[in-house]
């Protein structure tokens, strides 16, 4: 229990995540991917006669069960399998973020940016609403996210997924190094 309650190192967590790929294949020929759930939610709730959302999402409902499982797993791990405490970050990351204006390092997200109170501030709106929009728009445009392209796609040796993953990283580097410092100052 002691070991489970501590944060898990990459060489435990990474291979376990990798095993999700064969688990889904063996349990029913399902390919690992999470961003598709966002499409199924659109198709189920607001199809609005858009051809991209006119398909039988019921056939893909396993994907929504998978996502619901992630929510439950997140709950279990946070409330029953964790010791509370700040994450052991690289001090250089902390120092540079502090310099750029981040104050609260206690949670999963910086509480001084991500909170319901900050939703109507320009900075909060950009980080939560614009950021979320870019995730949903970008993953569907790219045809997948970190799970579908980076893990499932590269694992099955598909070069378009490798290209897409490189683009994810380039987008992230550009944001972090060149744009984020300005957004943090908003």
């Amino acid at each position: 229990m002691e070991i489970i309650n501590q944060p898990w190192p990459w060489y435990i967590a990474g291979p376990l995540i990798g095993l999700v790929v064969p688990a889904l294949l063996l349990l029913g020929n399902k390919t690992f991917g999470i961003s598709s759930t966002l499409r199924h939610i659109c198709a189920a709730c607001v199809p609005a006669n858009i051809s991209f959302f006119k398909y039988d999402w019921n056939k893909e409902s396993w994907n929504l069960f998978f996502a619901a499982g992630i929510i439950i797993g997140g709950f279990i791990a946070t409330y029953f399998l964790s010791v509370q405490g700040p994450i052991n970050l690289n001090p250089h990351t902390v120092a540079s973020l502090q310099q750029q204006g981040v104050k609260d390092f206690s949670g999963l997200l910086p509480g001084d940016i991500f909170s319901f109170n900050k939703l109507l501030t320009l900075r909060g709106f950009v980080f939560m609403v614009v950021g979320g929009f870019l995730i949903g728009f970008g993953t569907r445009y790219a045809g997948g996210c970190t799970s579908g392209h980076a893990i499932m796609g590269i694992s099955s040796l598909q070069w378009p997924s490798l290209v897409t993953t490189c683009c994810f990283m380039i987008g992230g580097f550009v944001m972090t190094w060149f744009i984020l410092p300005y957004l943090l100052r908003l």
Partner: protein
């Protein structure tokens, strides 16, 4: 009821996401600032294990539990991979999360992430709406 097994796999996946701290905004910042190996280790070793598993499945022609043969659909390249990939990358670095971690954060009680999730759903919808006009 057939779907309960996928709920359970999702649950285990969610637990791993929380326990390895990859759902932390700060860990994503460390990754993009090249100040920690953690995220690269997680994603890299996940790919390696996934790759070996798929090679074994193909080599020994292992079928599903329902005795069907395993088929992995080909991903065809289109320019959306590049444009969409870049756009998602920007969003990943702002929100510190990709879709899986969004769900795990919500389960862990970070309810403000619901805003990010709804916005991501809206983004997907707008993509569907504009799809025919976008270069692919």
């Amino acid at each position: 009821m057939n779907n309960i097994k996928f709920l359970i796999i999702g649950m285990l996946f969610g637990i791993i996401l929380v326990k390895s701290e990859v759902i932390s905004w700060f860990r994503i910042q460390e990754m993009f600032r090249l100040q920690s190996f953690h995220m690269y280790g997680v994603i890299g070793s996940a790919i390696l294990v996934g790759m070996i598993s798929i090679l074994l499945i193909k080599r020994f022609q292992i079928g599903t539990i329902h005795r069907e043969s395993i088929v992995i659909p080909d991903k065809k390249f289109h320019w959306g991979n590049v444009y969409g990939g870049l756009i998602f990358g920007l969003g990943w670095a702002i929100t510190g999360a990709c879709p899986g971690p969004l769900f795990a954060q919500i389960g862990g009680g970070t309810l403000v992430t619901l805003v990010t999730l709804f916005s991501a759903i809206a983004g997907t919808w707008i993509y569907g709406f504009l799809r025919e006009k976008l270069p692919h």
